[in-house]
Amino acid sequence: MKFGSVVGTVVSTINIPLLDDHRLLVCDIQDISGAVSGYTIAVDVVDAGPGDIVLILDEGTSARQILGRDWGAIRAVVVGIVDELVVDSASLL
């Protein structure tokens, strides 16, 4: 999984049917210092929103497993909202 933060949302009415029932979040991908190395548009399954620090899964088979289906063009999913990040006994959030 990748670590990052939600920075926005995407509104889309024309899309593949798989995405009809899911919010799409624009997520920055970050390292533990907060430096941004890129972004992804991820499907939300945990009701995350802009400002949340999140865990982003970026692998297709696992993503489909989370949505309970064995096929579908989905790869990036926000799978958790981070409460705390501790590195070397120091809380970084």
Partner: protein
């Protein structure tokens, strides 16, 4: 998934089997501020209605083929949606 701008369409008569009937688009991947990021790629159009100039999002790698009616096809990028709006920031 990443954002992209549709630059145009690509027509190829001779194709690998499995690609018949699929529209192909030339797209320019964008960063989250909709600035060009990286080189252009050719993507299958899984929504079948994306047109030139539109802001879209696409999926890459193995999952691209999953967007198409026939799922075992040699496709590595697929446009899976057309963007109406992007909200950046916490104003929502």
């Amino acid at each position: 998934m990443q954002l992209a701008r549709v630059l145009g369409s690509v027509v190829a008569t001779e194709k690998a089997s499995g690609l018949d009937g699929i529209r192909f688009l030339m797209i320019q991947p964008l960063d989250k501020y909709q600035r060009p990021a990286g080189g252009t790629v050719v993507a299958a159009d899984a929504v079948a209605m994306a047109g030139q100039g539109e802001l879209v999002y696409f999926v890459s790698s193995r999952e691209a083929a999953e967007a198409l009616p026939e799922r075992f096809v040699p496709v590595d990028h697929a446009v899976v949606g057309i963007v109406d709006q992007i909200h950046l920031g916490e104003e929502e």
